[in-house]
Amino acid sequence: MTDAAPVIALRDATKRFGPVEVLHDVDLEVRAGEVLALIGENGAGKSTAMKCLAGYQPLTSGRILLDGKEVTFGSLHAGEEAGIVLIHQEFNLAEQLTVEQNIFLGRELRKGLFLDKARMRQLSRDYLDRVKCEVDPDRVVSSLSNSEKQMVEIAKALGRDARVLVMDEPTAVLTNTESRILFDQVRALKAAGTAIIFTSHKLSEVSEIADRVTVMRDGAVVHDGPVADMTEDAMATAMVGRDVSDLYPPKGRRPDDAPVMLKVEGLSVPRFAEDVSFELRRGEILGIAGLVGSGRTEAMEGLCGLRPASAARIEIDGAPVAIRRPADALSHGLCYLTEDRKLKGLLLEKGMRVNLTLQSLEKFGGLMVDRQAEEKALDAAIREFDIRGGQRESRVSNLSGGNQQKLLLAKVMQSEPRILVVDEPTRGIDIGTKQQIYTFLRRLADEGRAIIVISSEMQEVIGLSDRVLVMRRGRVAGMLEGEAITEDAIVRHAMGVGADSQGRAA
């Protein structure tokens, strides 16, 4: 297969936005029945390259070759008609329509003048079955979870008989199980001769599923070759341009008698979590693992007063506290950093200053807001958190994902939490920024705070946590500590087969 001619290729592709060149003489190609992984740090130009390839954005110069012949895609649909389907990082689904309506959006089947609903229903079911997605085609998309939306996007692409399937970080919102299903589907598509390009920040996935890997850095291709010839370390080094083998900082040396800062007993969040109990000691990082949908996020949101919850007893520094609103949590030094920086974390159309101080405005003057003080705080935050690439007054939506995440972290730190709950702290950000965030979280713990990290990335939980609490179906399934923190043990607890290590439950 691999010596066949490329189905689609970019040649000498250059893309400029104003004076800034985001793609520089990029050559990219993929053959039928081949899976190409496109990797690189945020801002390396992966997404732009993919959008140009699929006809979403015109090239400034260079050529797109389809079956060896030069083409120009005049519109959004031209690419799709040529059989190139792009699945966006941000979903492209009509939220108010049903799953079935979305799958057939723009190419509805008709019988005479009317819609052929029966046939569309049946085909939708077929596509969904192929990705092992049990969602009812009649459900409204807005009621689906992120991972279900991703599966619907893929089902939609299946319905379009894609010759080239381009996926921008398809697994960022999927659980491990769902990723497996996606990979099975990718293999099936590959066997059927579809060319597949995807980006991912998870290098283990790249090793597993891709045939070839193309590494981009600063808008240019810096490496291209078979995956088999490259270790994950080599990939990371190529991406970042420096060695990143020490991704995780050394774990804390917390004495066993460190005081308990947070004690939770019998925390319940209606419909999501039941009877969650744990202790958090000063200076430690507690990881919370579990499948997406296991109630991790909801339990912690409930704890921080962000959604209705009840608890038998919550103690902070040994004193019982009642937390009903986010303000209560903050007044006790307990703060939650959301997993969804775009929808719940940052005001995307506002600037950095407004975002930085929103949660802690009372610090910046009484009734009136002291802008000078805000500017000073922003200066300090940009320095401390190494936030790059933002004009101070331009919208936060223009920052890259990694810088948005750093800004969000800076925002939360403005309220000076002593107990910090961070939910998916590195979702969709590059490896260099990840390393910075890990180092920062560890420093916070070493400085005498207590940190809870919720993460779906197994390596992250293992690499970062002193102890790991595993949740399953809204309950605590197990607590792991020290050497016992292994991928196998976490999966066993998360899947409900961890009976043999119950003895370790705290």
């Binding site: 936005f17 005001l347 407004v354 929103l358 807001v369």
Partner: protein
């Protein structure tokens, strides 16, 4: 994305964007055209007249700016003003035999207007925030209710303030200090306080955050419901203030009092550059919006270039133009 900003931001530094300049330029052009067509247009008497008449809508529009910035809407303000005017007149007429004509009865009337406005605003706010009903629906409902109540109170006719009382109360609209009439002074005070509150205070920041993305606001420890409730309550009180200024002008209230005020207020807010879906508001812009609308009205009455009956059409065109300009500014930013 970063690239796109890099070249637009310096451009914006050099010159304020169209969404900032647009309303100001429009106002200046309007004044110049007016002065050219009829020199009386820029006379002190005419300007005082226009400003005083703008004051009612203007005071309400300042409150509306906060409601819209926080992502809400209030269609009931015109009816609410009529109802409060009717209530004020009834209470004052009723208290006349006991209190007699004097300062106390005027203060009683004012207190009634402010309290009624506050309660009406709180009611709207409660239904919208606590019960979670769409603002459009709630205020459409209360608009009908207040309009109907004032018609009922007036028994289909007109509620008139006692003649003696009216004469005593008149200076609140027609009088003033240093030649500036009270409505203009009050309007100016409301604007200054409103502008400070919007752009400098924590409350203003919370309104913008709530309207911009209420989830982010909630996760950032902003009490979204309280913020919204306060905007409606504030608007209600300002409707009360506007009514206090309005009643001495005519001394009566009827089913046709305050008709379409809500739309004029909303239009002024939008022309001024506040975003209809919330998240960004500016009080000074609203003032310009109010002035543009009343100047057009005034200009059409003073000149015979276009029939004054076409006033509504011209206002409509201006509103649509304002929103188109806003959108272009956004697309560039």
């Amino acid at each position: 994305m970063a690239a796109e900003t890099a070249d637009t931001v310096p451009a914006r530094r050099r010159l304020p964007s169209m969404s900032v300049l647009g309303p100001i330029v429009a106002l200046v052009v309007l004044v110049l055209v007016g002065a050219f067509l009829n020199p009386n247009f820029v006379s002190a008497a005419n300007i005082t007249n226009v400003l005083a008449r703008s004051a009612f809508i203007g005071i309400i529009a300042v409150g509306m700016t906060f409601v819209i910035t926080a992502g809400g809407l209030d269609l009931s303000v015109g009816s609410m003003a009529a109802f409060i005017a009717g209530l004020m007149i009834l209470v004052m007429n009723w208290a006349l035999p006991t209190l007699g004509i004097g300062i106390p009865i005027i203060l009683l009337g004012m207190a009634v207007a402010l309290v009624a406005g506050l309660l009406a605003g709180l009611l709207n706010g409660f239904l919208i925030t606590t019960l979670g009903i769409e603002a459009f629906i709630v205020t459409l409902g209360s608009m009908g209710i207040y309009r109907s109540l004032v018609t009922w109170l007036a028994d289909g006719g007109t509620l008139s303030l006692d003649f003696g009382l009216r004469t005593f109360y008149r200076p609140v609209y027609f009088g003033g200090i240093l030649g500036i009439s009270w409505p203009i002074i009050v309007f100016a005070l409301v604007v200054i306080l409103g502008e400070i509150l919007m752009s400098r205070s924590r409350f203003g920041r919370h309104c913008a955050a709530t309207g911009s993305n209420e989830h982010v606001a909630h996760y950032s420890n902003v009490d979204v419901n309280r913020t919204r409730l306060l905007t409606y309550a504030m608007l209600g009180v300002l409707v009360g203030v506007a009514t206090i200024m309005y009643v001495p002008r005519l001394g009566s209230a009827s089913a046709s009092t305050g008709v379409l005020w809500e739309l004029e207020a909303i239009a002024a807010v939008i022309i001024g550059g506040t975003v209809l879906k919330g998240g960004f508001g500016r009080v000074w812009g609203t003032v310009i919006g109010v002035l543009i609308l009343s100047l057009i009205d005034n200009l059409l009455n003073l000149t015979d270039l276009v029939s004054p009956y076409l006033n509504g059409a011209i206002q409509g065109i201006i509103i649509i133009l304002a929103v188109i300009l806003q959108r272009e500014a956004k697309a560039k930013g």
